[in-house]
Amino acid sequence: MPNISYLKALNRALTDEMDRDPAVCVFGEDIGAAVTNFTAGLLKRFGAERVVDMPISEQAFTSFATGAAMAGQRPVIEFQIPALLFLAFEQIANQAHKFSLMTGGQTSVPVTYVLPSSGSREGWAGQHSDHPYSLFAHVGVKTVVPATPADAYGLLVTAIRDDDPVVMFAPTGALGKREDLDFAQLGPVPLGVGRIHRSGTDVTVVAVGHLVHDALAVAEELDGAVSVEVFDPRSLYPFDWAGLAESLERTGRLVVIDDSNRSCGIGGEILATAAEQMRLIAPPKRITRPDGAVLPFARDLDLSLQPNREQLRTAVLRVVGMDADTALKLIEDARGVEIGAAS
């Protein structure tokens, strides 16, 4: 079974969909040369009529895709930089997203927007480091943030086949993740269906995108002291509220780790919905970027504003009401070894 990276899985999904459906075409900057590798091999295989290098005109080519979609094509747009979504927000949120309702269902806009390198890339500074998935969930554009190669493959296939606009964030922190995958077994992953990567009984950690891997590491560290369930929503809009409610039926405690800015981020929505409608036996917590964060260039400053494992570990212990020393002792007892100071 080949060992496949997340980025390769995305490339494979796009290639497979272009093979399957001649209406699928790709628009973006430098996609012929495949500078991000997302589109590697596509120009040669499918030609310049379907793999269309665009001028640096994000606003025009985003709506160009809308027009093409309404005329029967199924465009995939690659944006190299997450902040380009701010530039094209009018074209996505105010045009592509609204056509179905505004026309009374006369048309649909099947465009997929892919961000292969969302969030911080460390050292790319203020205008290349955003992670604005909550913005799209807020306006109601279907939004997915896969964490693993298999989910990246499956969600991209689903996004392309979906008849509405879908934004896919592929976090920089997940792009290099690898997995042994049998391509014959890969298939679409439905929107709005979360995935429990690790079962637990004390706390549900909802982790978004690359932070799933941090949540799994923390769950492993705390094994023996706290039983952590790691819930990966995979798609933020639609969100698997039923899946989260089931998880909280088991655990009753909730921590969210989310790479959004704090105010109006998806983490806030998850906490609010859980508080309103789900079983909670302790006040929930969220770990996010600060309010209104602009990531500074200097590496340590950049990292200091992103959610991290230490913050998550602390939050998990707080919601179960356990101090770090007690946790350490429980872990040592459970494993029969002496670990020393936590972290």
Binding site: S57, Q59, F64, M70, Q95, S100, L101, G105, D163, D164
Partner: protein
């Protein structure tokens, strides 16, 4: 083939007259509270919609603007259903979901009026590109006002369309005003010069004369259809009435009575009407009044949408959004 019944003298007269009388009735319905939100009347600019759409084939497409009733009617939309849309009824073109600024009829190639200035041009270009990819020889005409020529996305679209010889016709309706701002106070350089800078042939057309607009558009459409790429027509016109009906209340003063009188001195209805025998004109006028009597009745008789359907059509796959209360 253009649609000769729309392009002959009587056909062009019929279209401009229909638009004029439709708008006058719609303004009456705004004043009566039967249309909420107001409208952007097209009165004075009818020759452009009539001339352009007469030069298109039935399977060609258009995109329109916030001032879009004329385009939608000229492309063949049923006046009854457009008026019902303005009145927010389920019998409207968009089932009451779009209103004046988003009227669309995809079956007739009307890809929607668009409420953001300049925003429809790339949509039109994309639709035209896709049609060519699908092996069709379709042309898409995109209407925009003089206000749009300062929007970056329009200029970006000129570049894309010219680069790939996309079969699109850019129709600028220069009515002299971006809302209240005189064109010359907000546009540097020239409008045709913008297109020419991208290698797009551009010409200035008398936008008060339906036949002049038709002739210029027919050339542009022929060029686009034969693979020659986009053209731009700057149709010089004058908006006889308000930017939007809110002006009847707000009463902003940005043009003098003399200027308005001067602008109204060339009326496309009269220009085209003078080309017909009086008896033909009277017959057409009477037909239009009867049609619009029916349209008003149809619009007001149409059911208002059920509240439970407010978010119907939000997603093409029928996905339901969460309610605002839990």
């Amino acid at each position: 083939m253009t649609q000769t019944h729309l392009a002959d003298s009587a056909g062009l007269y019929r279209t401009v007259r229909l638009i004029r009388r439709f708008e006058e009735r719609a303004i009456g319905m705004v004043r009566a509270g039967q249309i909420v939100g107001g409208i952007h009347p097209y009165i004075g600019e009818e020759a452009i919609a009539a001339g352009v759409c007469a030069a298109l084939r039935a399977d060609d497409q258009i995109t329109s603007t916030h001032r879009g009733h004329g385009h939608v009617l000229a492309k063949g939309a049923d006046p009854k259903r457009l008026l019902a849309e303005l009145a927010g009824r389920t019998t409207g073109l968009n089932r009451g979901r779009g209103g004046s600024m988003h009227a669309a009829d995809f079956g007739l190639g009307i890809l929607g009026a668009n409420a953001i200035v300049g925003a429809a041009a790339p949509i039109a270009a994309g639709a035209a590109w896709a049609a060519r990819r699908a092996g069709k020889d379709r042309v898409v005409a995109t209407f925009f006002g003089d206000g749009a020529v300062s929007q970056g996305v329009l200029l970006e679209t000129f570049n894309l369309a010219s680069l790939w010889k996309v079969p699109v016709v850019f129709v600028c309706e220069n009515n002299g005003f971006a809302t209240s701002m005189h064109t010359e106070s907000v546009v540097a350089g020239s409008i045709t010069g913008r297109a020419e800078a991208f290698g797009i042939p551009a010409s200035t057309v008398d936008g008060m004369d339906p036949e002049a607009v038709f002739a210029a558009t027919a050339d542009a459409v022929a060029l686009a259809r034969s693979g020659g790429g986009p053209s731009m027509l700057e149709c010089v016109t004058y908006r006889f009435d308000v930017h939007h009906t809110f002006e009847y209340i707000a009463r902003p003063r940005y043009r003098t009575n003399e200027e308005i009188a001067e602008g109204r001195s060339r009326d496309p209805i009269e220009i085209q009407g003078a080309r017909l025998p009086e008896s033909d004109r009277e017959r057409i006028d009477a037909e239009i009044e009867a049609l619009l009597d029916d349209a008003v009745k149809f619009a007001l008789d149409g059911p208002v949408p059920e509240l439970s359907t407010a978010l119907d059509y939000l997603y093409a796959d029928g996905m339901r959004a969460r309610a605002g209360v839990a």
